[in-house]
Amino acid sequence: MILEPRFTDDVADLPTHKFGPSSLTWWGIIGFMVIEGAFFALAFAAYFFLMGHEQGWPPEGRQPPNLLWGTLFLVVMLISEVPNSMIKKAAHERDVPTIRALMPVIIGVGALLLVIRGFEFNNLNCRWTDDAYSSIVWTLLFLHTTHIITDWGDTIVLWALMMTDVGWEPRRLVDTDENCLYWRYVWLLWIPVYLMIYWVPRL
């Protein structure tokens, strides 16, 4: 039996963009954040599992990583939330000129962070081949670095798009808003990773 349509509502006047949980891409991004969070949680579990086998942490004869570069990384990341919040606010207000002006700042911060990260790897006081402790510490730092790199690349592409006429398109502002959300996630992640790499070995 073919059912005849019975017309109820008309949705033609519904918007085509909204910020936050109404947006489909917001849910997609949350999905990927949870996946990446699961990776980190499991890497932390592996870290504690290996730590449980040791008499000392770091194992005897090793120095904990030098604090300077990791802490500097933390400070720069926390400060980066200032332009990040400004971009997010500008996206909500459709203030495209501010977005266009501030995105290069965030991209510059990303580049700076990658340089600092290079020094961090150099100051872990171990190589990944040394022992299981070294392997897991390198893994944590590597995992976080992949997040910095992907967000950095992503931000460059989005900035290039925002510089075109399409930048005024409201859905691109939602993209910008969600890119800022992701950056928040990346720096929030760094706090536990930083504690695991730099401070748990000092407890």
């Binding site: 059912l3 489909l24 999905g31 207000e93 081949t129 392997s135 399409v166």
Partner: protein, 653 residues
């Protein structure tokens, strides 16, 4: 703040927007359908075929590909059964036998069972929810291509005689650099990476589709049970698959760049592998089983002609199974030695998970009891499922007990147990649901007679193949041995198993013959051949590229049974561009109109780029650095619009 030029452009676009054609009382019927057909059909030719983002095409490809892997995995099983038919056989040697069971298990778990469930969901979920596309259809296409490339890697390596030989769970230290030189174990580990990326992408697609694209009025409390099952499964994939991706990456790095995660000499631990692997591996069982319970609910409801008994109990059972599944992984590790409290905890957790499963079974039985069951082929598969799964569940309760597990660990009793729960729990419902949705997928009915013959062959052949394995196990036959000596009483159970395995294989061949025959000669299917109630039956069989001419509205949990000749619909979506309706997460109230991406080759190109990265990183760590560049370019091009101009309404080109 907004420049005059942009304001003028906004006004011009608003004027144009008002002129756009939309479905409604003035645009309906054949005229509407012709326009929607033009908008939604993909470009012709091989490039159009590769660029498709139609969930029905991708779902069909997923299902067909997974069935091909089922056949390949089954062929390996047939060879193994021939080898074990008689004692002291030398049809295949020990090394080849190691490869056979590794390939069989890996193929069935990673290339058949999970992808086939995702494929069915990708095909049917948007239809069931009353929408026109999945969320993120390009990601969906990417997920399929990653899956195919993972399968090609594994089987290509096997064909080149570098197939893995370390078992489907690749325990360290056996799979580590010391005991598995060469690249066999790396192939296995990298196949994992492919299939995990694929499964995770599909999981995000499914979660977003289920939460955001349901028809107006389809509140969470009115959602079909298969959609509930897939929502739980997708969330489980999101939390569990990172575990296996992480541990297999650690394995590759131990093997390639000399990390020491599993190297006991440098303070690593082989048991770290087992924990991480089974933290994925046990939920994996439910990732395969829960979609099947969704199939069973769907079939039972339709063929008993009454709503499922105690719907909220079934939903809560699905959710609690999903949660409990994460608390059991250590029962795979009883033989590694645990603290006493660990034994007690994981025994009780393993027994606890039987409770929600039993609740679901009681709900299905009550539905049958209170309904008027029609014993057609899909319903026969449901009954077969219940019988076999209950037997497998009972042996599961037996081996949840530590003393018995230590006795039976790594014997054929375990092989019997997991084939009862996996074939009984997943393959039977799958064959039932493929018969059930065959008319929706192809437009034709499968032969009922061939279907019934096939069912009985499978049901009886299955018992013959796997029931004797319990006895072989109790007699002490270890799993994964390529032969056994005469005189231990193992001859009869093994011979029976081999005969049964060939009956099972014949039944599967018959199913395929039935499918192919029906594809060309089957009775033409009407819209709703089974008299079912969910929305996939409110459109043509097979559905047009746009699924529904108007987006349906749901006013009860059994929409088509309550329809009374009319289907309530909403109007106002564009007809000249692809568009779907987004609704709110819980109440499914209309929320947004969302453009649907145009077909694109970039997901395929991105999958190729990522595939090259993964395969080359088996050989050199630098592949991760240099391979990332084309992958990044491909994903940027995927996101970048084809035309840098604004449209009256958003378009994803």
């Amino acid at each position: 703040m907004i420049p005059q030029r942009v304001k003028q452009e906004d006004e011009r676009l608003a004027r144009e927007r008002a002129k756009l054609a939309r479905d409604g009382p003035k645009l309906k019927g054949a005229k509407l359908e012709a326009r929607l057909e033009r908008t939604w059909r993909r470009p012709p030719g091989i490039l159009g075929w590769l660029a498709t983002v139609d969930h029905k095409e991708i779902g069909r490809r997923y299902i067909v590909t997974a069935l091909i892997f089922l056949a390949l995995g089954g062929a390996l099983a047939a060879v193994m059964r021939l080898q074990l038919a008689v004692p002291d056989n030398n049809l295949v040697g020990a090394q080849r036998y190691n490869e056979l069971f590794t390939m069989h298990g890996s193929t069935m778990m990673f290339l058949f069972a999970v992808p086939v469930m995702e494929g069915v969901a990708v095909f049917i979920i948007p239809l069931m929810l009353g929408t026109r596309s999945t969320a993120f259809p390009r990601l969906n296409a990417f997920s399929y291509y990653m899956y195919v490339f993972g399968g090609l890697l594994l089987w290509g390596a096997f064909a080149l005689n570098i197939g893995p030989d370390v078992g489907w769970f690749a325990y360290t230290p056996l799979s580590g650099p010391q005991f598995s030189p060469g690249k066999r174990a790396d192939v296995w580990a990298q196949m994992i990476t492919f299939t995990e990326v694929s499964a995770l992408a599909a999981a995000v697609v499914l979660v977003c589709t289920i939460l955001k694209t349901r028809a107006p009025g389809m509140t969470l409390a009115r959602m079909p049970l298969f959609a509930w099952a897939m929502l739980v499964v997708a969330v489980m994939i999101i939390f569990s698959m990172p575990a296996v991706a992480l541990c297999s990456s650690m394995l590759i790095s131990d093997r390639l760049i000399g990390t020491n995660f599993y190297n006991a000499y440098e303070h690593g631990d082989a048991l770290l592998w087992q924990h991480l692997f089974w933290f994925f591996g046990h939920p994996e069982v439910y990732i395969i089983f829960l979609p099947a319970t969704g199939f069973v609910s769907v079939i039972t409801e339709t063929f008993c002609r009454r709503p499922i008994f105690a719907y909220p109990v079934v939903v809560l059972a699905l959710i609690s199974t999903g949660i409990l599944a994460f608390g059991l992984w250590v029962h795979h590790m009883f033989a590694t030695g645990l603290p006493r409290v660990g034994y007690s905890f994981y025994t009780s957790a393993s027994m606890t998970v039987a409770i929600p499963t039993a609740l679901q079974i009681f709900c299905w039985l009550a539905t049958m009891w209170d309904g008027r069951p029609r014993l057609q082929v899909p319903m026969l598969y449901v009954i077969g499922f219940i019988v076999i799964f209950v037997i497998g569940g009972l042996t599961g309760v037996i081996i949840a007990s530590v003393p018995l597990d230590l006795e039976l660990h790594d014997t054929y009793f375990i092989v019997a147990h997991f084939h009862y729960v996996l074939i009984g729990g997943a393959v039977f419902p799958l064959l039932g649901i493929l018969t059930y949705w065959f008319p929706k997928i192809t437009g034709r009915m499968m032969s009922e007679t061939l279907g019934k013959i096939g069912f009985w062959m499978l049901f009886l052949g299955f018992q013959l193949a796997f029931f004797p394995m319990h006895f072989a196990g109790l007699l002490g036959m270890p799993r994964r041995v390529y032969t056994y000596p005469a005189g231990l009483g193992l001859e009869l159970p093994n011979l029976l198993s081999t005969v049964g395995a060939f009956v099972v294989a014949s039944a599967v061949v018959l199913f395929v013959i039935n499918g192919l025959f029906s594809l060309y000669r089957g009775t033409i299917a009407p819209q709703n051949p089974w008299g079912a109630t969910s929305l996939e039956w409110a459109t043509a069989s097979p559905p047009p590229p746009y699924n529904f001419a108007h987006i349906p509205v749901v006013e009860s949990r059994t929409p088509l049974w309550d329809a009374k000749g009319e289907l309530p619909v909403v109007t106002g979506l564009r007809v000249d561009e692809k568009e779907i309706l987004l609704t709110t997460v819980v109440a499914a109230a209309p929320d947004l109109r969302e453009p649907v991406p145009e077909p694109s080759l970039w997901p395929l190109i991105a999958a190729i780029a990522v595939g090259v990265l993964f395969v080359s990183s088996i050989f050199s760590p630098w592949a991760v650095v240099f391979g990332a560049i084309p992958a990044a370019i491909a994903t940027a091009a995927w996101f970048w619009p084809k035309e840098l101009k604004r449209h009256p309404e958003p378009v994803i080109s």
